[in-house]
């Protein structure tokens, strides 16, 4: 923004041209999917392809909303993502506060552990999870996904919350406690409201991570009624490979929550994300 104070007309022309080309690379696939979701299936692979549908229809979307199997995928995704996010955020607020406010013995080691857990490949965990979940009798239940997803979301969430709490002055809690409030009161009544942007970022981040998860959901659930959107849609692709327009409609609808959350929270999200992902 400030690197070059005034740029010439010609340079600006080049910049705009490149931006439009880049924008096409980013957006064309999405537009194409949307256009495919609004035409009859026979038109999807017509050769040569046409940009606009010859026969515009919202039938694929109606089919998604009428089909209990599809609706169940959405319901499952919302249940899992919401519960996991709620747990993650509460546990991460507590842990982040502990990290940010105290210098307890073992702090460095535990911090290294949390940072290290982010580096563990989920596919490595999947093998022991499978036997653990089967042994606990949780195979093909929501609980299997709640428990395993929290491992994916929690380390990032703790680092994000710690980073955010570090930006809030420690003297605030001390002041509350001098006035007779407990530390718990200071956290929930004073610090948490101030940390709202960080909490929003953590919430969005955890929700998106859970909403997008695929490998655990594929392996730890089995019945169609337990499938989440990413798994459900990929299995449908195998079975009904000929109903591309409906698959595209589910893709658009399945991406909508992430897109809306992102647009709503991008301001908090991007700054919070950089704290969590880049700072130790």
């Amino acid at each position: 923004m400030h690197s070059v104070k005034r740029i010439s007309f010609r340079v600006r022309g080049i910049v705009y041209t490149l931006l439009i080309v880049s924008g096409m690379f980013a957006v064309f696939p999405v537009i194409w999917v949307f256009l495919m979701s609004t035409r009859p299936n026979v038109e999807v692979f017509k050769w040569p392809p046409t940009f606009f549908p010859e026969q515009f229809t919202l039938e694929p979307y109606k089919r998604v909303f009428r089909d209990p199997v599809y609706l169940r995928f959405f319901f499952n995704s919302y249940v899992v993502a919401t519960v996991v996010t709620l747990f993650t955020v509460i546990v991460a607020i507590l842990a982040g506060y502990g990290f940010s406010r105290f210098n307890f013995p073992g702090k460095k080691l535990f911090n290294l552990f949390v940072v290290g857990t982010q580096m563990v490949p989920p596919i490595t965990l999947l093998i022991p999870y499978f036997s653990m979940i089967v042994a606990f009798g949780l195979f093909d239940t929501y609980k299997a996904l709640f428990l395993t997803y929290i491992v994916l979301t929690l380390p990032y969430a703790i680092l994000m919350m710690t980073g955010y709490f570090n930006t809030i002055s420690k003297e605030l809690d001390e002041a509350v406690m001098i006035d007779g409030g407990s530390r718990f009161y200071a956290l929930w009544m004073v610090i948490v409201p101030l940390a709202l942007p960080g909490i929003i970022a953590t919430t969005v981040f955890s929700f998106l991570l859970s909403w997008n998860e695929f490998a655990f959901a594929l392996t730890l659930t089995k019945s169609t009624s337990m499938r989440t959107i990413p798994v459900g849609i990929s299995l449908l692709m195998g079975q009904h490979a000929y109903e591309w327009n409906v698959m595209m409609a589910i893709s658009i609808l399945g991406s909508a929550p992430a897109l809306l959350l992102y647009l709503f929270a991008q301001r908090y999200f991007l700054s919070g994300m950089t704290i969590g992902a880049i700072k130790e």
């Binding site: 690197s3 740029i7 880049s22 563990v120 596919i123 093998i127 880049i278």
Partner: protein
């Protein structure tokens, strides 16, 4: 922290409150992370631990098997090709787009393009896979666009062709993965002090020189750490490959992730799968140590 000598009893007692705050997180991570990690390592030393009710200790047998297995070495090589190409493309596209977004153009247009260029990142891996299976279908739009100027004959199956599946996969992963890098580098660019550029202007430097002698060195720590992080994420990737090529055709796009999954859940070779999974985790650990070093250097 307020006024106590660091080792006094009162000070320490105060610090012990922290364990209360950290207990829920610690319990969750120990039960759901440390214990499974121990379990997977333990399984890798036993003969088939799921099928056999009384598994025997076999030491390093599965590791020796993996190192001699041709599919494993193929998967390892594919993983490196896929990861290095993806990371280089992410970094160059991410840097290019970040530089474009950092020019002094109309604010509104800038914001509009920033949101637009982040868009691919809001799509779930499963949906990114479907999008590109549609685009790269033999009768898809990419083949159509390439056939107009006559680059290719129509009807090419990108994900189904052993010679092209890897490129198709890298293209798909590039599209889905560059936004995160772009956002991080943009933040890095905006953190470079204006006075550096002003001083260079006074000294008569042109834009290219400013880029080479100010932007690149200033951005180097961010590029290094974000590149390593991306390397770690891409190296262990499973979903995208599973959902586009499934490791095929043949073994053309078999990577460590897909191979582990197949060993465990289609061939039920849990101990072999555990051994490969431990190799994946250990090699990631090496990368992670480099990453933490790079972090320390950039702080």
């Amino acid at each position: 922290m307020g006024g106590y000598p660091v080792n006094s009893y009162k000070y320490l007692r105060k610090q012990f409150v922290a364990y209360g705050f950290l207990a829920p997180a610690a319990i969750l991570l120990i039960v759901l992370l440390l214990y499974p990690m121990i379990l997977v390592v333990w399984n890798s030393f036993l003969d088939n631990s799921i099928i056999n009710p009384t598994p025997k200790w076999v030491g390093l047998r599965h590791y020796r098997w993996a190192l001699a297995d041709t599919v494993f070495s193929r998967a390892f090589r594919n993983t490196l090709i896929f990861t290095i190409s993806s990371v280089l493309l992410h970094l160059s596209i991410g840097l290019g787009f970040a530089l474009l977004l950092n020019t002094s153009i109309n604010r509104r247009i800038q914001t509009f393009f920033r949101v637009l260029l982040i868009l691919p990142w809001t799509f779930t891996v499963a949906i990114v896979a479907i999008i590109w299976r549609l685009l790269l279908d033999p009768l898809g739009v990419v083949n159509f666009l390439l056939s107009i100027p006559g680059f290719i004959k129509p009807g090419l199956a990108w994900f189904g062709d052993p010679g092209r599946a890897m490129s198709a996969l890298i293209l798909t992963n590039t599209w889905g993965g560059y936004p995160f890098i772009m956002v991080s580098l943009l933040a890095g660019l905006q953190g470079i002090s204006v006075s550096l550029y002003e001083a260079a202007t006074v000294d008569g430097a042109n834009s290219w020189q400013k880029f080479l002698y100010i932007t690149v060195p200033q951005l180097k720590p961010v590029i290094l750490s974000i590149g390593l992080l991306d390397f770690i994420w891409t190296y262990r990737l499973f979903e995208l490959i599973w959902l586009t090529t499934g490791g095929g055709p043949g073994r053309a796009t078999e990577t460590l992730g897909t191979y582990i999954y197949k060993l465990a859940f289609t061939q039920y070779q849990f101990s072999r799968a555990s051994a490969v999974a431990v190799i994946l985790a250990l090699t990631t650990l090496v990368l992670a140590i480099f990453y933490l070093r790079a972090q320390k250097a950039s702080d």
